[in-house]
């Protein structure tokens, strides 16, 4: 790829057209265009509105439990024998992952816009649960589209959504994963334009979603940066987060983008290896294309048909990535590395045993990279890993991989 000229700041995007360099944009059907323009207008008003900010802040504190802790993982650090590892504990948020940060922000937007119905797509079910949660809290009917494959492998989350009053619609098209769920959510939105708010769960989709999801998730990095300064008196050397669509990663990364000495690493799902098609490493093994309203790195064939990826983690099982990540990749600011299913599974067990924390399989990918690099780093070096969610939802998948029945 051509390297674009390096900007003075990595934190100014997107431009007015919603572009991060050549990535992003608004590639949607005309029917949806007026809706995303409305959303952009409302978002631009809301983000500078003290009342909006105060309401979101209060909900974040008293409902979601923020700030989440920055925890020194002493057991894991001792086990690896190198750099100090800190975990940003998004798993401790209400609903068990970072997804609540974005859902609280967007449900307030939906309320401001006078919408009457919430739709969402979900992969692992974490965003579906967070969407169903805020819909219950604010009294909205909620429909969650979820690939049929994911419905089967994330059954605890499906039940949680139903308890919360959401309707879960399994999507059988394609491989029945996140990509197909997103197609179906877009079809719902294009049909129910009058009253429906589409609560996108990741920092992807047409502008302004990548920007607003990033801004709602940036609380992760803003807190982590402040907490690190308080706890260690300096910035970390390396920060790591897993990237599916990339919302937890951009949330951690964005506040650190202009800290030149902080190394930033995004972890893609390497699945069963990058040689074949059984992975979701769009930035390592894909190329730019247009899907779901934005231009970004995609897994696709020579004819521009989108490929079905594979990951042990339903939350990373998506053939694309948020457009800002694509731009950060090409600009060289962030290094994106793959982690295999097996490596993630090992890290999952290691974290559980050395820390007494069961991480989500998504987050286990990020931990796995720390496991790789920490032993080769000096003991005074510091790594922050975004522990984006807790792993209770994954115990069935992990048991199956370990050959056990529960």
């Amino acid at each position: 790829m051509n390297k674009p000229a390096l900007p003075n700041s990595f934190r100014t995007g997107p431009d007015e057209q919603g572009m991060f360099g050549i990535f992003g944009g608004r590639f949607v059907a005309e029917t949806l265009m007026p809706l995303i323009l409305d959303l952009e207008r409302e978002w631009n008003k809301a983000k500078d509105d003290p009342e909006f900010k105060a309401e979101l802040s209060a909900l974040s504190t008293f409902y979601a439990g923020r700030p989440s802790k920055l925890y020194f993982a002493e057991g894991l650090t001792r086990h690896l024998g190198g750099a100090k590892i800190y975990l940003k504990r998004e798993d401790l948020n209400h609903t068990g992952s970072h997804k609540i940060n974005n859902c609280l922000g967007q449900i307030l937007l939906a309320k401001r816009m006078g919408k009457k119905r919430i739709i969402a797509e979900t992969g692992a079910g974490q965003h579906g649960v967070a969407s169903a949660t805020v819909a219950a809290r604010f009294g909205y009917p909620c429909v969650v589209y979820m690939g049929a494959t994911d419905v089967a492998r994330q059954s605890p989350n499906v039940f949680r959504m139903k308890l919360l009053g959401a309707e879960v619609r399994p999507v059988t098209a394609g491989h029945g994963t996140l990509k197909d769920a997103m197609n179906e959510a877009l079809r719902d939105w294009v049909t129910n334009v009058e009253d429906t708010y589409y609560l996108i769960g990741t920092a992807a989709g047409p502008h302004p979603y990548p920007e607003l999801v990033r801004d709602f998730q940036s609380v992760i990095g803003t807190e982590a940066r402040q907490q690190m300064l308080e706890q260690e008196g300096r910035l970390p050397d390396t920060i790591i987060a897993a990237v599916g669509g990339g919302s937890n990663a951009i949330g951690l990364f964005h506040p650190f983008l202009d800290d030149k000495d902080v190394e930033i690493i995004g972890i893609e799902a390497g699945g069963r290896g990058l040689d074949g098609v059984e992975h979701c490493a769009s930035m390592n093994a894909g190329r730019p294309g247009v899907l779901h309203g934005n231009r970004t790195y995609l897994l696709q064939d020579d004819d521009g048909q989108i490929l079905e990826g594979h990951s042990i983690s339903a939350g990373l099982d998506y053939p694309g990535v948020g457009p800002e990540h694509s731009w950060l990749r090409d600009s060289g600011r962030v290094d994106y590395q793959p982690i295999l299913d097996d490596e993630a599974l090992e890290a999952f067990q290691l974290c559980t045993r050395t820390e007494g924390i069961i991480p989500a399989l998504e987050s286990a990918h990020a931990i796995a990279h720390a496991v790789k690099i920490a032993p080769n780093m000096a003991k005074d070096k510091i790594i922050i890993v975004n522990l984006s969610g807790r792993g209770d939802k994954d115990v069935h998948t992990v048991a199956k991989m370990m050959g056990m029945e529960i």
Binding site: E30, M33, D303
Partner: protein, 279 residues
């Protein structure tokens, strides 16, 4: 510039009847069959052909056209082969306008300049690209116009009077009015509302306005054709093909014949539109 679309529309206007615009999926269920379907369309009464380019993730399409695209892809269809169908058709028909319809990604990956040059050489007259709104005109619309290919825009019930001029700005050939908010193949909207909407668009442009999404029967075509300059039929044609395919994709009857029978009926509906309206 005048294109085959402009000439065909002018001719129909002189005849005092709306156009029958027919959509089918290139490569559904395979290259040869879909070429025979395309060749059958003008004889059955189709005035303009929309040639679908299959895409793995057709976000604006209902189950019927989704399935048609998957059948085509399974049969080995590619963008290159879709252009080849058009080029082959052109050898025997230099009059009937061909509009390629689909999504942007296959074109983007093919390379816009390459694609436009080959499309032009294959006798393509226009493009309908669902996921390229006017905000993204620099991507393909402007280069297409420069290459002498019409860029046909979708206007929808959500396109209000304030937005219409933007939607119409670089549109040429005709305007495709989407009769409802929804995906292809849904139930037809209130036809009175459609007529009002067509009138509203005509206040902003001299371009012909064709109406699609949800039109399935000759009767509906007749009613819509009374106010619109053209009626687009897609899902009904795709269903006619699917209906003569067995569970394993084997043909139980000739798809081209099935399509021809359906289109002949629709053509009668369209041709009686203005007669009925005049009564």
């Amino acid at each position: 510039m005048t294109t085959r679309i402009d000439r065909r529309m002018a001719k129909l206007k002189a005849e005092g009847r709306p156009a029958l615009v027919t959509y089918f999926m290139g490569g559904d269920p395979d290259y040869d069959t879909s070429l025979s379907i395309m060749k059958a369309l003008p004889k059955a009464g189709s005035d303009i052909i929309e040639l679908g380019m299959p895409f793995s993730d057709p976000m604006a399409d209902g189950p019927a056209i989704q399935a048609a695209g998957l059948r085509a892809l399974k049969g080995g269809q590619t963008l290159k082969k879709t252009l080849a169908i058009a080029a082959e058709f052109r050898k025997g028909d230099d009059e009937t306008p061909i509009v390629l319809m689909g999504y942007y990604n296959p074109i983007y990956v093919y390379g816009v300049d390459n694609f436009l040059a080959e499309a032009k050489a294959s006798g393509i007259d226009g493009l309908i690209i669902v996921d390229l709104p006017p905000e993204m005109d620099a991507e393909l619309c402007i280069p297409a116009l420069k290459a002498g290919i019409n860029f046909i825009r979708l206007a929808t019930p959500t396109t209000d009077d304030k937005r219409l001029p933007k939607v119409l700005e670089n549109t040429s050939g005709f305007v495709y009015y989407v009769s409802m908010t929804g995906i292809t193949g849904s139930a037809l909207a209130d036809t009175t509302k459609v007529a009002t909407a067509v009138q509203r668009i005509k206040e902003h442009t001299d371009l012909p306005v064709c109406v699609g999404f949800g039109v399935k029967t000759a009767e509906q075509a007749r009613i819509i054709g009374a106010s619109a300059d053209g009626v687009v039929i897609g899902t009904a044609i795709v269903n006619a093909i699917a209906n003569v395919l067995g569970p394993k994709g084997e043909k139980t009857a000739d798809p081209a014949e099935a399509v021809a029978t359906l289109v002949s009926g629709l053509a009668q509906g369209v041709r009686s539109a203005r007669l009925a309206a005049a009564e």
